[in-house]
Symmetry: C2
Subunit: 196 residues, 2 copies
DNA sequence: AGCGAGTATATGATACATCCTATATAAACC
DNA sequence: GGTTTATATAGGATGTATCATATACTCGCT
C-alpha cells in the first residue's frame, strides 16, 4: 500500500505533522497520488504501532499544539526496500472508457458532450501541472537540485500522459465531426500504431 | 460506481450469467476495467434488489444450471442516463511515481532496474492489446460495425496511452544513461512541452 | 459575545475491491 | 473411487478510500 510509503518518504525528508502531510499531499503529489485526512491520520497511527515512525508534541505560541512525526531507522529501511522494488501492476479503472465502450447507446450529441467535458477536464489538469512546474522553478534556487529530480520526473509523466490523452480526445472529436468514427478506420489506425 | 453500469451495459447487449460476465470482463474490458467474481455476484444481487435486472434459471444438459440475468426497462433507463453524464474525475494513484518522486534515496542501478521492470510491463500490456485487436478483427465479419466502434475506441486509448508511457520510460532511461537526468534539463523540457 | 476562518487532531460510517473459501454439477482420466 | 478440470454460484474476511462528523485552539471582525 503506497500511502504508507509516500508518508514515510515525506518523513524521510523532514519531521512533519498530520496536518503538514495533508498539505504536502495536496501541493506536491496530487498529480499521481492523493490522501484524505482520515487516511493520513489512520496510517500514521498504524505506522507508529509498527515502530516505523514516532512522534513528539510540539507546543506553538498562537496555534494549537502540533503532533510531529519522524521516521525511525526501521521506517527508513522499510522505505528504501520498497523504493527498490519494481512497482506492482496497477489495475486501470476509467469511467469515461466504460461510457465510450457502450457508446452505441449514446446519441452523437451526447457522446460529443461527454468527450468535450473530459477534454476540458484534461486541459484544466494540464494547466494545474504548469502551475506546479512554475512554483518549483521559482523555488529552485532554494532547493538541492538532486532532490528536485524525482518530483520533476513525476511531473514530466503527468505532462506527457496528459498531452497524449488530450491529443487522443481531440482526435476523437475530429473523427466524429468528419463522420470517420467507424470500425474499419479505427482498426486500420490501431494496427498501424501497434506496429510503430 | 461504474461496475454497476458496466454490468448493465453488457446486459443491455444480451442476457448473461454471472459467470459469463466474468469472462466478458476478462476478455473485452480489462484494459480499462476489471471485476472479480465476488464483486460481480454482489453487484448483480444489488441490481436485482433495486429492480434494474431480473434473472431466470436456465437448465443445461451437461453443465450445472445457469442463472441468467437480463436488464429491466428501468435498468436501461439508468444505464442511458449514466452514459450521457460526463465522467467523474478519476484520482490517479501510481506507485511507480511515488518511487520516482523519492528517487534521491535510490542507487542509480536500483532506479534503472525499477524503470526497466515497468517498461517491460508496459510492453507486455501493449502486446496484449495487440492480441485483443487481432481477435476483434478476426471476428469483425460476425459483428455489427456500429457496436464495434465503442470497444475499438477504448482500445485506441489503451494503445495511445501505452505508447506514450513506453516512450516516456524509454526517454528516462536514455537521460539517465547520458547523465542528463538533472533538474535544469527536466525543467526546460517540461516548460517546452507545456507550451505545445 | 458570537461568528468565521485557519490551524490541528481524531474517528465513525460506508462503499468498493481483493483475497479466501465454499458448494454443486459434470466429464475425463488413472 | 478419487483426482483434476471446467462450469457455475455464493459469501466471509480484510484492506483501503471517501464522506461525514467532532473537538480544540487562536485570531480578527462585527
Amino acid at each position: 500500500m503506497s500511502l504508507r510509503h509516500t508518508i514515510l518518504g515525506f518523513l524521510s525528508i523532514k519531521p512533519l505533522s498530520g496536518y503538514d502531510l495533508k498539505r504536502y499531499f495536496d501541493a506536491s503529489v496530487r498529480h499521481f497520488w492523493s490522501a484524505d485526512q482520515a487516511a493520513i491520520y489512520r496510517t500514521l497511527n498504524e505506522l507508529g504501532q509498527n515502530g516505523l515512525v514516532e512522534h513528539e508534541r510540539v507546543a506553538q505560541e498562537t496555534r494549537p499544539d502540533r503532533k510531529v512525526f519522524h521516521v525511525t531507522p526501521s521506517g527508513l529501511a522499510e522505505l528504501d526496500s520498497w523504493l527498490a522494488t519494481p512497482a506492482p501492476s496497477v489495475t486501470r479503472r476509467e469511467p469515461l472508457l466504460v461510457k465510450l465502450f457502450f457508446s452505441s447507446r449514446l446519441e452523437p450529441a451526447a457522446w460529443r458532450a461527454v468527450v468535450e467535458a473530459e477534454l476540458q477536464s484534461v486541459e484544466t489538469e494540464l494547466a494545474t501541472l504548469g502551475q506546479i512546474v512554475a512554483a518549483i522553478e521559482g523555488d529552485a534556487p532554494n532547493q538541492d537540485p538532486a532532490v528536485l529530480v524525482g518530483p520533476l520526473v513525476t511531473l514530466s509523466n503527468g505532462v506527457e500522459t496528459g498531452l497524449a490523452y488530450r491529443d487522443w480526445l481531440r482526435g476523437l472529436l475530429v473523427l466524429q465531426a468528419s463522420n470517420a468514427l467507424s470500425a474499419p478506420t479505427l482498426l486500420a489506425a490501431l494496427k498501424a500504431r501497434l506496429e510503430s
